[in-house]
Point group: C2
Chain length 432, copies 2
């Protein structure tokens, strides 16, 4: 593009793992395409990673090398600092802060960093006239940050729902398809490299909770508040639950829901039942889906790969292209100083609940449980006692709409009945 | 937002039908929200419509009134001309040209105008340093123009697929669900107000074809070429075809496909079979879906309301918000002068085909048809002859992959066999 008039946009790339190499490949493969669309060249000037000698299968020889990402972030010859190292403290945080201080825009794929420090980083970036973009931090290749911040900018957002951790959805999908238990599939994921170094980030719902907290901030104009996300992982989802849910026309998903209520902001990332024939219920394998509900637009569903080299690098480069084209938005869609401090509300939006428990097989056991529910104000929609070869009776109850508080209240009383074997399972049935 | 520093963004709104009133309602309801997100007020200054006295249920008293949209477009006190009148000639075209000449940016919901004159309008807008945005012109509330132009800006686009006319999808879905024929449901849509004034724009695939041609231009960096879209409407889709497709695990959709091939740009909007369990196959009713395939991102699926006051106004206002925030992109994602003149390729990408025909019930009839296929190089995957109370035999053939040309060649020879009753049906089976 010899006719381009603006100088090239210069990238400093911190991190040469899967995503970083994906970025290098796009820049090298699509130089002309990027220049045609941005009206200027987009080029990598310098990179940083731990091991300069590691064979990476791409030619990095024309880029300056920095062993310290903070040194990279401070370079005077870059316009954008691209952070794809990960980790919410240490080098990622220090380098991002250094980049802003040095007057650079930042593009990051780091959901943990922003979930923990997003508000402070946004404030300092905006004070410095700099931009932080993070499309790749949520739902991989799906342009959901853009859809929410820009595409739905004229909507009051009612609710954000999503399946945002591919590994969890893979495990849950495979449990249903193969009849293999959680532990078997967890081990399979470990072998396939689908798990974070700390697997609890995935299966504990933390990674997905990070993402939800970022979407919440944009959707509701509030400061990121990851600590307020109600988190429950998938470790205790059993084949029994998956099978019983299926028999009733539901699937179990690790579902994120954020909504603003009269009591405050509800954010939860928990296993839920959703209708099997809904778009979320039909989502198989490692794919991600985010549903955005706005007062004018209604329901928008976005689906795509939530991880992987190509999709994540595509999202990083979308942010880079925005900057190359001169698009400059506040990190969370409005000035950080104008974001409200959210009132975190423990989920009070009522829902139907799936309750599964095992009772001692003696007269009146079921009546005692029903009494506990009634006393907590929870009414029963369906109750089934299953055939049981042993001495104990598995029971499934679907309630009419009730709050989490009422359900917890009832569950608290179950223990005192003396008829329960083990702990009951309580899963929300989300209307989607 | 007394602290906003930029002056308000001033809208001139041409058209007060469903979409125009939706825009008015958003601006009136969400003044604070828009100002917080844009960093400046967004206000309507003047409006235009045919009848100033019509009761519209909203307060328009604070807006200047122009009976002529061209006069509105020329006003010196607006920044953005919002065109939601429709029609690809006459007032819409004249007013859009006048707005650009007067130095205003343009936001339009008018797919017909852009499908016919988009390249010329983009050239003149860019020569004048002005921007034309058209999110509302394609797939209603779904932010698909943004996703393709910006979210996937670093991808080479491989294919764009979509169900982009809600009325057609409603008719096809209801035919399967109710067993009512096309004509009955066409009349129902007319009564419900689901049809354009010229219904052939909907059921003939023209409206959806307009939309596809706009996506093609962005996806492949080519000048809009609506005339090159292969169009086939849904008027001839029969209950027999819907039932036979379902029996094989498919659904029939009016499907738009655009892809760049070695021979040129293929664009088609035709009834196709898609797997019933794919996202496109599962799409019910008036909803729209667009699937974007990029070399890095893989497959992104976007789903939402394709029409209606709220969703379409949401998309119009997303473009307005982009302008208010200072986001300025070339109409088709790169300078119009750099868009290639596409070589229109008649579809040559091979596919499996669904062929249904009625044969005279006499010996050797089926063999003659099979011979025609074989001579055209088309091999047969499945063939079924159905039970038949009358004298003629309904036959269903699914071919292995073949080009449109080969299929047309075979069909041309069918006539000469003298065994065919009526015209055969040929529908592409699209891999999605």
């Amino acid at each position: 593009m010899s006719q381009t008039q603006l100088p090239a946009l210069r990238i400093g790339l911190a991190g040469l793992g899967t995503v970083g190499l994906g970025v290098v490949k796009i820049v090298q493969r699509h130089g002309d395409l990027l220049a045609a669309r941005a009206g200027r060249k987009v080029e990598i000037v310098a990179v940083s990673a731990r091991d300069p000698k590691k064979a990476r299968g791409v030619d990095l020889s024309s880029y300056a090398w920095e062993s310290d990402p903070v040194a990279l972030a401070k370079r005077g010859d870059i316009d954008v600092f691209v952070e794809v190292m990960g980790g919410h403290e240490g080098p990622a945080r220090l380098a991002t802060e250094a980049a802003i201080a040095a007057g650079h825009d930042v593009v990051t794929a780091n959901k943990a960093l922003l979930a923990h420090h997003g508000h402070a980083l946004a404030l300092s970036a905006e004070a410095a006239g700099r931009v932080i973009r993070f499309e790749a931090a949520v739902a991989g290749g799906i342009p959901v940050i853009k859809a929410l911040t820009e595409g739905l900018a004229a909507n009051q957002i009612r609710r954000v729902i999503g399946v945002m951790n591919g590994t969890c959805n893979y495990i849950l999908t495979r449990m249903e398809a193969t009849g293999q238990g959680y532990n078997v599939l967890f081990d399979e994921c470990a072998k396939l490299g689908y798990l974070e170094a700390d697997p609890n980030l995935d299966v504990g719902g933390i990674d997905a909770g990070h993402k939800l907290s970022l979407l919440s901030a944009i959707a509701f104009g509030t400061q990121v508040s990851f600590d307020a996300v109600e988190l429950e992982g998938i470790q205790n989802v059993s084949l029994d639950d998956i099978g019983l849910a299926r028999d009733m026309g539901y699937r179990i998903k690790l579902l994120g829901v954020a909504q603003m209520t009269g009591r405050g902001l509800e954010q939860r990332m928990t296993p839920c039942l959703v209708p099997a024939d809904s778009p979320l219920g039909q989502l198989q394998g490692g794919t991600n889906m985010v549903v955005l509900e706005g007062d004018s637009v209604g329901q928008i569903v976005l689906r795509g790969a939530g991880a992987g080299e190509g999709p994540t690098a595509s999202a990083v480069m979308a942010d880079v292209m925005d900057l190359a084209r001169g698009t400059r938005l506040a990190t969370f869609g409005q000035p950080a100083a104008s974001l409200a401090q959210p009132i975190a509300a423990k989920t009070a939006t009522p829902a139907a609940w799936y309750l599964r428990m095992t009772l001692l097989d003696k007269p009146g056991a079921l009546a005692k449980i029903a009494t506990c529910l009634g006393e907590a104000g929870v009414s029963i929609d369906q109750m089934r006692q299953y055939g049981h070869p042993g001495a104990n009776a598995p029971v499934l109850i679907v309630t009419h709409k009730a709050t989490r508080e009422d359900i917890d209240h009832a569950l608290g009383h179950f223990a005192g009945t003396g008829v329960l074997v083990g702990a009951p399972v309580a899963l929300r049935i989300e209307e989607v």
